[in-house]
């Protein structure tokens, strides 16, 4: 089955991974800007990273027939440095007309601090000003519930936000209901240890239905599995769910959400 991985960090994966994804049916990926494993010191460091996302990765993916899209921001971890964050936010518009840029992301919270919240709100302003969709990272482990509620407070508190153009990612059992009930898209991240397994993601699909629900691997430089979506497809088939349901979650829903961006010019496989 053709599928789309709506959240995967291919800058930290090998070319062999692109080949494996293509063999597994992956036809498109979207790559949010994220933490590199170390704090970058300058806005120019981010400019180079954004060139890598918009130019290098798109070309690398194309060699395997995979369409590459991306999202730009300064991530929640480095957002603790408000001065640097403001320099990066001021530079992002240079890239927003690039064909592969879908919007602002993955913005969010990490340790749920005041500085992270200030930078989140300033990213929101950027997205509103340039009419960009938003992809949101929610915190890990014990910080997730509190951070997700804080993020929803900030989004819900601004009437200019079009909820149908916002994806709140990394939802789990204790955060999915609030995200969907408030009218946002929700993403489930399939990780080997933290976040969510394919089995638990299948449970959430059964409990909440497939509307506005996406699944991703968030494959990166840490413990993660870039082929986690085929694992979810396998789990849903094993339970006896229909191909239509599976396709909706792993293919139709990402296409519908990404189409909120004028830069999403998807080429369907014929």
């Amino acid at each position: 089955m053709d599928y789309i991985d709506p959240h995967i960090h291919m800058v930290s994966r090998t070319t062999d991974d692109y080949a494996t994804l293509a063999r597994m049916g992956c036809v498109a990926v979207s790559e949010p800007a994220f933490w590199a494993g170390f704090d970058r010191g300058t806005a120019d460091g981010f400019r180079d990273y954004f060139r890598q996302l918009t130019e290098v990765e798109a070309a690398r993916a194309a060699q395997y027939g995979i369409q590459h899209y991306c999202w730009l921001c300064i991530n929640a971890k480095e957002a603790e440095n408000v001065e640097l964050s403001r320099e990066v936010i001021a530079m992002i518009p240079e890239f927003l007309d690039h064909p592969g840029v879908l919007g602002i992301g993955e913005i969010g919270l990490n340790k749920n601090t005041r500085n992270e919240s200030i930078v989140f709100l300033e990213h929101m302003e950027l997205a509103i000003k340039y009419e960009q969709p938003i992809l949101i990272h929610t915190p890990h482990l014990e910080d997730k519930y509190q951070g997700t509620r804080m993020i929803l407070d900030m989004l819900n508190g601004d009437s200019r936000i079009d909820r149908s153009r916002v994806l709140v990612d990394h939802v789990e059992e204790h955060t999915i209901a609030a995200v969907l009930e408030d009218g946002y898209w929700a993403g489930m991240t399939l990780y080997p240890i933290s976040k969510c397994t394919p089995q638990r993601a299948a449970d959430m699909i059964e409990m909440f239905g497939p509307e506005r629900l996406l699944a991703n691997s968030a494959g990166d430089w840490g413990p993660s599995k870039p082929t986690a979506i085929p694992d979810l497809i396998f789990e849903l088939r094993r339970r006896g769910h229909s191909e239509d349901l599976i396709r909706k979650v792993v293919y139709d829903n990402p296409r519908e959400f990404f189409a909120k961006s004028k830069n999403f010019q998807f080429q369907q496989r014929v």
């Binding site: 200030i118 997730k144 059992e173 699909i205 409990m207 769910h241």
Partner: protein, 113 residues
């Protein structure tokens, strides 16, 4: 062993906090096509293995030098086990909430954001 924990004041507090959580929804808009017996057949050995891992880890803690019975994480584990053992739905969500920091609706005013 768990009965000892239930009368432990700190553990009792944890249990009270979890019991105060909002009721979990019993959403099931798309039930699994597999029935309960089929699911138990499929998952029994996997659950058995995971429970044994937990049991062996607790035994390992008991055998080790030092004392963690008052460690908040050990108390969380004990509370989590009691959640697994009860018959109410939404166990996964309740476990998630047990392992989560509290949310205060007044955070924006508190942080002046």
């Amino acid at each position: 062993m768990l009965l000892h924990k239930v009368v432990d004041p700190f553990h009792s507090t944890l249990l009270s906090v979890v019991s105060l959580l909002p009721p979990c929804p019993t959403n099931n808009v798309m039930p699994s096509p597999a029935d309960a017996t089929q699911l138990l057949d499929r998952h029994f050995l996997e659950v058995r293995a995971r429970l044994l891992e937990v049991a062996a880890t607790l035994d390992r803690l008991d055998r080790a030098e030092g004392e963690v019975t008052r460690d908040a994480r050990r108390e969380q584990i004990a509370t989590a086990i009691s959640i697994l053992a009860d018959a109410k739905p939404g166990r996964a969500e309740r476990l998630q909430r047990l392992f989560s920091r509290d949310y205060k609706a007044s955070w924006r005013a508190d942080m002046q954001v």
